[in-house]
Symmetry: C2
Subunit: 134 residues, 2 copies
């Protein structure tokens, strides 16, 4: 099987501290870590919920992908990420099935994971990430 | 703890059959059932991924909440749903924490579950559903 799990659901937020506090008080959940991922222009916090994570994403500036998303759409659901066992095999399969890859080769994301994004165009409007955990 | 699990991530789609076929061919996942939920104006398909579901939602017409979402935003991520053990207790807690409830009382959703929605306003732009499974 290609998908091991729903690794995370990402939410773009304007203020990471405020969003963490909201999730803490409303839902009694806590991030297990937060991390600046310079290459993606975000600070992220990962909150475990069941076997998946909520990933809260605050842009490092307005001229980042998440910064532009916030300017256009406001805060909200940003992308879905699936854990896969073999990211190169998954990318080759998706390309063969006609998916529009943003990253044709994996790069390093948060948690040191190998990641790649699939464009929302032709994917029911859903920006999709593949994650091969270290 | 208030949250048992990330029950599902919902995606608004224009054509449910086409979306199911896309997920089948790209990700090798299959719905375990589909259901028309008249009260919510949708036909939905539930696709297990790890311990959660993708929920594909096709509106039954343009004058439904998901129909209006499609007209405004196009296809894409629609809402997040958390499984809770006691939906009345969860709603009381959220109201006390200042969340704006769409449903102050549970109603019956897909799978015969008791559900309630929380407005995206004041919730980082995320339409949020609580689900107490039967």
């Amino acid at each position: 099987m290609l998908l091991l799990n729903l690794d995370h659901v990402a939410i773009a937020v304007a203020d990471l501290d405020e969003a963490i506090e909201r999730y803490r008080s409303r839902y009694r959940v806590e991030p297990i870590y937060r991390e600046i991922v310079e290459q993606q222009g975000v600070e992220e916090a990962m909150i475990p919920v069941g076997g998946s994570y909520l990933q809260l994403l605050q842009p490092l500036g307005p001229e980042t992908p998440v910064g532009r998303f916030l300017a256009r759409h406001g805060e909200g659901l940003h992308h879905l990420a699936y854990a896969v066992p073999d990211i190169e095999a998954a990318l080759a399969h998706l390309a063969a099935e006609g998916a529009e890859l943003i990253d044709s080769e994996p790069r390093i994301g948060g948690r040191g994971a190998r990641i790649a994004f699939v464009h929302p165009r032709g994917s029911n409007g859903v920006l999709t990430e593949l994650v091969e955990l270290a």
